[in-house]
Structure formats: structure tokens, C-alpha cells
């Protein structure tokens, strides 16, 4: 494959003008001129929306997310958290100690002015949606459409961009915006909406000999909740309908009105095993909004932490795939290696899942010196062990025969449904944000491209094993060469209200993207997190038909989808 030519923001603008028949006004991310070709915002009307999306899509652009927001909503700090903050403040004031009273007084005034600002007029106040598309070797295009409150409809994008199917359902659930022509508008996120919707109906196949196999939401193993409805003939699955969002915690609404610092531990806990990924996308969005440059040590350390996260996840997932076929040798041996990696995490950061480290401005807790000593050697030793276990697994015919040809995701289907991460790379797509849009320390290093074309469970197994080796090599390189100096700068004051930042990072499960709109006083107006699992769940549901019911756990584990960050 030859290196594709770069597509500039100017070219996109011309393309849009040709499609819509008039010149479009484009605004960039606003700050550094160097980023003008990285991201652009285009305002289009409802009537033009589909044509604009089609024009961008035809450059080979991938769907990033569709986010809805409602700027007319009253101040959004949720009741109990506001009450709790007020309680803490009044307690602090009652304490009467000088310094804290001053600090607390400041915070109180801030909260008040935030409430005032929220009720006042806002820039572009109203209901709107944004479709975000990433042009390969080109900018990220945000197409914004304003939705009139008395007619909350727009032509659905799902027929044009099938990867947007869940985004549109979610937007419908949360904002009441109706994508006209969407093939499936059952409730997705809120299971029992108010006012009540029609009773939920699973989609099933009908015919002679077809039976239904309902599974979940509470599963047999130590796993997260979701309801799967298989339509099967004998052992063969004809259709799979997955109902998720059981662990929906209302994270996005819950952080609205909070300061950037207050929201961090909440966003970090969208998923407990991709904490670095989610803290990083959040921090990078805040850093963009506040024009913060993080110190070199933090740039490199974020890569180190992200690779530690990828490594323990991949090693654990390889083990889980063994569990998916009941091959205890692999489960147990790889489980032990994962435990050793969790210990290294703990030695490095004080937390087995690396929580509480990455923050806007760099790292809120610097890496432990003692954890860094010998880290490279320890990781290399574990990687060596993993490699020898994988070698034994690959030579086991009974194991590999379950993996080969099972759960095939074709390249075309991966592209159509917007598969991400290992699932995409094992189906012949080169997508990897570490290479495609390098941020933080990834801009300074070379990440080798790994992939496979067969798209079956075996391909995903091999891609994971190879990526684990790459992660180990990167960790070894970085642990010995981490720049000295501070790990944190304090981000300067609040950004302009209504400004938006978008950040993506390649986590163990693929690219997670976060869309962040600033409100008044450095508070969050709207946050949307679209994790890689969110993109890959509908892909899994389309891969399973044609396979055997007992292969479902294996296929599921080969995608390694997280429910928590999908459901939020």
C-alpha cells in the first residue's frame, strides 16, 4: 500500500462547498494555528446534514461519535453533589481557620456565579447534535446541526453511517431528538424511561425449528451484566440481539456543572480496567481547552502507563480466551503473569489498576522511583514467560482448532460498522490512534504496525499476543529513559464558555474518544465519552450469527468488550 496523500482542512471545505452548493464557514479548534488541519467545526442545517456527512464519509472518513447536547437546560449540578459540596463548604466555614475559610469562600462564590451564568443566555443556546468524523490522514470534522426545540427531528445518519446506530439511539433516549428513518429506536440507555415507552421487545428470528435462548443480564461467571437473546436452530445462531446499559450510571449528566478537577475521578471510573485511557482522553481534552502544555516527564510517563495498561489487559485477555474454551492451562498460567503485572502497576503507582495518576496538566502523583527501578527487566521477564506460554498454546491443536475460522469479522463489515482496536486490526484495518493521531509521548516514538487479515478469533489472539510484546518493549525503553523534572503543571484558568475539545486515545480495547464542552468558570457543560467497546458491541452482534452457541463466550472474549465504559 502506498502512503495516502494528506487531506487538508481546505480540501474538506471545498468538498463540502461542492456537495452543498454554497461556501461553508469553518472554525478550527481556535488556539494553536498548527492544529488548524487537525480539527474543524462546520455548521450545517438539518436539510444539508445528510449531504455533508456523505461528502465527508466519501473521503474514507470513519465515524468517531455522534453527540447530542442541550444548552437550554438549567444549571446542571446534580442535587446531592451540590448539597455535599455546600455541606463541606459550610463545615469548612464553621471551622473558621483562616486559610481554608478564604479558599472555601472562593469556591462558594464560584458555584454561585456558575449558577448565574448557566441561567443566562449562552452562545448558540439550544438543542444541537454533532456528528464527528475522522478523515484518514486529514482533519477531524465536526458537523454541527441545531435542532429546533419544537421539532426535534433530523434525518437519521444510520442508513449512511451504520456505525452511528447506537449513538443515535442514545441521543434519542437522553435528549428526545428523533433521528427520522432510524431502523431501531428501542430504548437503549434508559431501560424504563419516563414517560414509559412501549414494552421492550427483543428482535428474534422466526421459522420452523428456531428457538430462543435468553441469557442474562446476570451471567454465570464473574462478568458484567447484559442480556443476550439468541435465535438458534440446533447449535447454530441465526440472530443475536444484545441489550446492554444495565450498568448505566448516568456518568455524563452527573459530571455536568462540576469543575474539571472534580470530574476526574468519576470519568476515570467509567471503566476500572481502562483507567489510564479514560483519564488521558479527559485530561487531554481539558488541556486543549485551557491551552496547557504538559511537562516532558508527563508526556513520556503517560505512554508508559498506557502501555502498562495495554499489557496487563492483553495478557489477561489471552488467558480469558483460554477460559472461553475451558483450557485451564492457559487461563491459569496467564492469570499468574497478569497478577505479576498488577503488582508492578501497584509498585509504580500505588494502585493495581493505575487509578489516580493521570490528571489534567500531567500526573497528579508522580511515578514511584522504586517502582521504576527494574521495571523494564521485570516486564521483559514476564513478556518472555507470556511468549513461551503462547507458543505452547499455539502448538496445541485442540485449542487452536476452536479459534481458527470462528467468529470471522470481514474487513468490509469492520469498516461498515466502525470496528476499533484489536478487532479492527485483526480484520485488516490498520487503525491505531497511537500511529494515526499520536498525542503526548506517542509523537516521539515509533509504534510498529501489527495486524492480521483473517478476522477470526485466532487472528485476534495473535494480534493481542504481538501487541503485548510491543507494549513490553516500549515499557522497557521508556522506563530507563523517563525525563527528569516536574510531572505536573497547573492548568491555567477557565476556558471560554461553550468551547469544545475532542481527544482520543488508543486503549487496550481500541480508540476511546471524549468530547468536552466548557461551561462557565472552568466547569463542565457537557461531556460525552465514546469508548472502543461502545463501537465494538454492535460488531460482535453481527459476527456471532452463523457460529455455534457454545462458541459465543469465546468470540465474546476475543473481542474483550467492556460493559462498564459502554454503559457509563
Amino acid at each position: 500500500m502506498s502512503e495516502p496523500t494528506t487531506i487538508t482542512a481546505r480540501a474538506i471545505r471545498e468538498r463540502l462547498a461542492a456537495a452543498l452548493g454554497h461556501a461553508v464557514s469553518v472554525s478550527g479548534p481556535g488556539k494553536a494555528a498548527a492544529r488548524a488541519d487537525d480539527e474543524m467545526l462546520v455548521m450545517v442545517t438539518r436539510e444539508e446534514f445528510a449531504a455533508a456527512v456523505t461528502a465527508i464519509r466519501d473521503t474514507g472518513a470513519r465515524h468517531v461519535m455522534l453527540v447530542g447536547f442541550d444548552l437550554r437546560r438549567p444549571a446542571s449540578t446534580s442535587g446531592s453533589s451540590a448539597a455535599r459540596a455546600a455541606e463541606a463548604r459550610s463545615a469548612a466555614a464553621a471551622g473558621g481557620a483562616g486559610a481554608s475559610a478564604a479558599a472555601a469562600g472562593g469556591a462558594g462564590a464560584e458555584a454561585k456565579s456558575a449558577a448565574e451564568a448557566a441561567s443566562a443566555a449562552r452562545p448558540g443556546a439550544g438543542l444541537a447534535i454533532e456528528e464527528v468524523l475522522a478523515v484518514p490522514n486529514g482533519p477531524i470534522v465536526r458537523l454541527r446541526v441545531e435542532i429546533p426545540p419544537d421539532d426535534r427531528t433530523y434525518p437519521s445518519l444510520t442508513p449512511l453511517v451504520p456505525a452511528a446506530q447506537w449513538d443515535e439511539r442514545e441521543c434519542h433516549d437522553l435528549h428526545g431528538i428523533v433521528p427520522a428513518g432510524h431502523p431501531d429506536l428501542r430504548p437503549l440507555v434508559i431501560h424504563e424511561p419516563d414517560p414509559p415507552a412501549a414494552p421492550y421487545k427483543s428482535f428474534v428470528a422466526h421459522g420452523s425449528g428456531v428457538y430462543q435462548l435468553p441469557v442474562g443480564p446476570i451471567h454465570a461467571g464473574v462478568i458484567e451484566p447484559g442480556h443476550f437473546r439468541f435465535s438458534a436452530v440446533g447449535e447454530s445462531v441465526l440472530y443475536l440481539d444484545a441489550r446492554l446499559f444495565y450498568t448505566h450510571r448516568g456518568l455524563e449528566r452527573f459530571v455536568e456543572g462540576r469543575t474539571f478537577a472534580e470530574a476526574l475521578p468519576i470519568v476515570e471510573r467509567a471503566c476500572g480496567v481502562c483507567t489510564v485511557t479514560h483519564a488521558t482522553v479527559y485530561s487531554r481534552a481539558v488541556e486543549q481547552l485551557t491551552d496547557t502544555e504538559i511537562p516532558p516527564r508527563a508526556r513520556a510517563a503517560r505512554v508508559l502507563l498506557a502501555e502498562m495498561e495495554r499489557l496487563y489487559n492483553h495478557v489477561g485477555d489471552l488467558g480469558n480466551m483460554c477460559a472461553g474454551v475451558g483450557f485451564n492451562f492457559g487461563t491459569s498460567r496467564l492469570g499468574w503473569q497478569k497478577e505479576r503485572l498488577l503488582r508492578l502497576n501497584e509498585a509504580l503507582t500505588g494502585h493495581r489498576y493505575l487509578m489516580g495518576v493521570v490528571a489534567p496538566g500531567g500526573l497528579r502523583l508522580d511515578l514511584e522511583k522504586r517502582g521504576l527501578v527494574g521495571l523494564g527487566a521485570a516486564v521483559a521477564e514476564i513478556e518472555h514467560e507470556v511468549r513461551s506460554i503462547v507458543r505452547l498454546l499455539v502448538r496445541s491443536d485442540s485449542f487452536m482448532s476452536r479459534l481458527h475460522g470462528t467468529g470471522i469479522l470481514t474487513r468490509a463489515e469492520a469498516l461498515r460498522l466502525g470496528a476499533l482496536g484489536v478487532a479492527a486490526r485483526a480484520s485488516g484495518l490498520p487503525d491505531d490512534l497511537r500511529r494515526d493521531r499520536p498525542a503526548d509521548g506517542y509523537a516521539d516514538i515509533e509504534v510498529p504496525q501489527i495486524g492480521s487479515a483473517t478476522g477470526d478469533v485466532a487472528a485476534r489472539f495473535h494480534v493481542r499476543a504481538q501487541e503485548a510484546a510491543v507494549s513490553a518493549a516500549l515499557i522497557k525503553e521508556l522506563a530507563g529513559s523517563l525525563p527528569a523534572g516536574p510531572a505536573m503543571v497547573v492548568p491555567p484558568g477557565g476556558p471560554r464558555s461553550g468551547s469544545v475539545a475532542l481527544a482520543g486515545a488508543e486503549g487496550p480495547r481500541g480508540a476511546s474518544w471524549l468530547w468536552l464542552m466548557a461551561g462557565a468558570d472552568g466547569r463542565i457543560e457537557r461531556l460525552h465519552l465514546r469508548s472502543a467497546s461502545y463501537a465494538n458491541w454492535p460488531v460482535l452482534a453481527s459476527v456471532v450469527p452463523g457460529n455455534l452457541v457454545p462458541d459465543f463466550p469465546l468470540i465474546n472474549k476475543s473481542f474483550e468488550l467492556c460493559y462498564a465504559c459502554t454503559d457509563r
Binding site: S80, A92, A97, H191, G221, R269, F329, G356
Partner: protein
């Protein structure tokens, strides 16, 4: 290849035994491990910066003095440590924090310790305390305990630590405890997560499917009181409103040893 089969058999045999002996031995922690924070009352000048900084409101402030830290709310993020201008608060290595009562998680005001961990060391790693735990295990583990895990809306962190109980290091089966696939086979429900609205009915029905006598252990800050999500309209702030909780295991997530401690405490409670 037969040679590979031999290798596969030899690999575990050649490896040294790696399994933990917890609870007889102390949990294997690192220098950096973040356990429950502790306030030094001599250095503390009651400026309230810790109270203000805590994301979950775990530090309680009464009439100008920091009174207590609620382990059930603490997410072990060290925000209080970073915020304190007098450096009067430090993370300890205290991770075994389970209690049979919600109030039991609220750490009483401790007398000043000599070092950051000194007071804790004597409290928890005291050999006689270990001996007591051992006796407890021996007397209560005359029979096995069958556990059913229930994710009531967790971030997956607690769930992965529960899954880690089954790895060769923690190997919970060595204590006669095992996980079962159905609530109908379970003695104990191990609940993680905030209890979302979307899961409330499924959680209740899972509990109802269990035979009597049955117990509930709430694992992690979310299951105890909603954790960082407490107050979100989509969550019910912990398992306690839906299920009768017998033992609370603080942590975000709790280490596997802390979960074992909670399970053993539940065994002790069951007469």
C-alpha cells in the same frame, strides 16, 4: 506434538509454588500501595483542605476538627494528602478494612503514630491477630462456602479483583470458597457496583433465587454507598437499599486480600 504435551505438563511442575498463604501471612503490598489515609492530630491544624478536596465526602468535619475518615466512602485517591498544606495526612498501607456494620467503617480518631505506617503495623500485622484469623478460618471452614458474584453496576474494577481471587496466587479454592454459576447454588452474594436503576430488579430477583440461609457482602465503595457516583439520578447509592448487606468491604477496588477478609468475616457471622 507429544513433546509439547510434556512441556505443558512440566511447566507448572517446574514453576515454584506461587500461591499466597493469606490470611495467615500479611497481604503482599508494595511500598507505594495506597491504603486508608490517616491524619496526624499533632500536625493537623484543622484547615479543612482535606475535607474540601475529598471527591466522595469521606472525611467528616465536626466543629472545627477532622473527626473521622469513612473507609466506606474513601476511594484511596490521595487527594487529601495532596491538598493538606501541613502534610498532616498520609496514605497508610492499611487495606484490610472489612466490617459487619456500616458504622464500623468509619475510622475512629487514632492516637498519633510514630511513622506513617507505624500504628497500623502493630494493629494489623500483629502475629496474635493473624493467629486469631487462622483459628477463625479453621473453626468456620468445616464446610465450604459457595459464592455468587453479582455486578450491580460496577466499573469492572472490583470484578477483576474478584476474578483475581481465582488466579494461581490468590487461589481462593484453597480456603474452601468457590464461585458458582447460579444463585440457586449460592450461600453468599458478592455484590459490586452502585446498584443502577436498570439492574435493581435483576439484583433483587438474584437474591430471591438464593436458598436460605443467605448472606450478602458488598464489595467496594460503589456497593457500600455509591462511591464516586453517589447522588447520580441513575444509581441507588449502593447495594444496601435493595439487599440486606451483612459485610462491607471498602476499597476502590478492594485488593483481593481485602475481599477474602470480608468473606471470612461473613463466615464468622454465620453461626
Amino acid at each position: 506434538m507429544p513433546l509439547d504435551l510434556v512441556r505443558r505438563l512440566l511447566t507448572p511442575i517446574q514453576s515454584p509454588v506461587s500461591t499466597s498463604t493469606y490470611p495467615e501471612a500479611a497481604p503482599l503490598l508494595q511500598d507505594a500501595t495506597r491504603g486508608l489515609p490517616q491524619i496526624d492530630p499533632i500536625l493537623c491544624e484543622n484547615e479543612g483542605a482535606c475535607v474540601e478536596s475529598c471527591p466522595t465526602g469521606a472525611i467528616k468535619w465536626v466543629s472545627g476538627a477532622v473527626e473521622s475518615i469513612d473507609a466506606g466512602k474513601c476511594i484511596f485517591c490521595a487527594a487529601c494528602v495532596l491538598a493538606c498544606p501541613k502534610k498532616a495526612i498520609a496514605m497508610t498501607s492499611r487495606v484490610e478494612l472489612a466490617s459487619g456494620k456500616r458504622d464500623g467503617l468509619i475510622d475512629p480518631f487514632e492516637p498519633p503514630a510514630l511513622g506513617p505506617n507505624a500504628g497500623v503495623e502493630t494493629l494489623l500485622f500483629d502475629p496474635s491477630a493473624r493467629e486469631h484469623i487462622r483459628m477463625r478460618v479453621d473453626s468456620r471452614l468445616g464446610r465450604s462456602l459457595h459464592v455468587r458474584h453479582l455486578d450491580a453496576g460496577s466499573c469492572n474494577g472490583c470484578d477483576w479483583e474478584i476474578a483475581a481471587l481465582l488466579n494461581p496466587y490468590h487461589d481462593i479454592q484453597r480456603l474452601g470458597i468457590d464461585f458458582v454459576a447460579s444463585p440457586r447454588h449460592a450461600d453468599l452474594l458478592l455484590v459490586t457496583g452502585v446498584m443502577t436503576r436498570n439492574l435493581e430488579e435483576a439484583a433483587r430477583r438474584t437474591y430471591e433465587a438464593m436458598p436460605e440461609p443467605r448472606m450478602v457482602v458488598a464489595v467496594g465503595a460503589c456497593a457500600i454507598g455509591g462511591g464516586v457516583f453517589a447522588g447520580s439520578p441513575q444509581v441507588l447509592d449502593g447495594a444496601g437499599g435493595t439487599l440486606p448487606v451483612d459485610v462491607y468491604v471498602p476499597g476502590c477496588p478492594p485488593r483481593p486480600e481485602a475481599i477474602i477478609e470480608g468473606l471470612l468475616m461473613a463466615l464468622e457471622q454465620r453461626r
